[in-house]
Amino acid sequence: MEEVHRQTYGEKEKNEIFNNEFLPHIHSMYNFGYRLTLDRDDAKDLVQDTYMKAYRFIESFQKGTNAKAWLFRILKNSFINDYRKKSKEPSKVDYQEVETYYNSEDVDRQITPDLRVEALKDMIGDEISNALNSLEVDFRTVIILCDLEGFKYDEMAKILDIPIGTVRSRLHRARNLLKEKLSEYAQQMGYKNTKL
């Protein structure tokens, strides 16, 4: 990312970068923190911690470059190193398996769970949010970055420190899991299984 060349900024310039390039992303950052921790207080702590780190390492940031991706990367690393270690076991997902499946002939076989647009449009409560929150955190993360925040694959690869191929396979798996969850909700709402 933009950390290779160290910059030299005066105090005034540091504050300008912080106020004009970092703070405008506070909403997205808080939302990312909340969707990772699923706790508002933890999200606030995580965002504060991230911004303080960003300020401390501001000379690693090149003015005018992709501040949002840089901040998201710091937040993600803080989450893994400080928060997740304390509270969660390591991930049990076999990502090699996810990738092998994505690149196999079978990827089209179960093309989508039994889900229809009309059922989705009827989900006016917290169904979508709950379905997202129910995913394992690494799967949740790729959906947040891609679908909520609109990051491109190459940006996601840098934020997450994984190859673009892995971004794609993980995203595919994440979406299928999300659809499975949404299908369950659709059935509870009375929509019958309708295979495509």
Partner: protein, 89 residues
């Protein structure tokens, strides 16, 4: 459009699956040639057409429903105070 002009062919010459094509389209990662090919492909691939509709709807709903969390009022002020303290120390 002929098989040879499939712009989704991978470097090893392997065809991309429907799901792999669909994902690039959905995420705005496809180039204009790939978009054109996919439009044509969807006309004759009903599962792709339906999945595209469902996936687009989910993507849209995620953006609408999962980004609305209000940032705590005092967060920005607290951050600015912490920076001031850091500079002063």
């Amino acid at each position: 459009m002929s098989q040879q002009s499939n712009p989704f062919l991978q470097p090893d010459g392997k065809k991309s699956s429907c799901m792999q094509m669909l994902q690039l389209i959905l995420d705005g990662e496809a180039n204009p040639e790939q978009k054109e090919y996919f439009k044509y492909h969807m006309d004759k691939c009903m599962p792709c057409f339906k999945t595209y509709e469902v996936d687009m709807t989910i993507k849209e709903m995620l953006r609408i429903k999962c980004r609305g969390d209000e940032v705590p009022n005092d967060l920005v002020e607290q951050l600015k105070d912490q920076i001031k303290q850091k500079i002063a120390s």
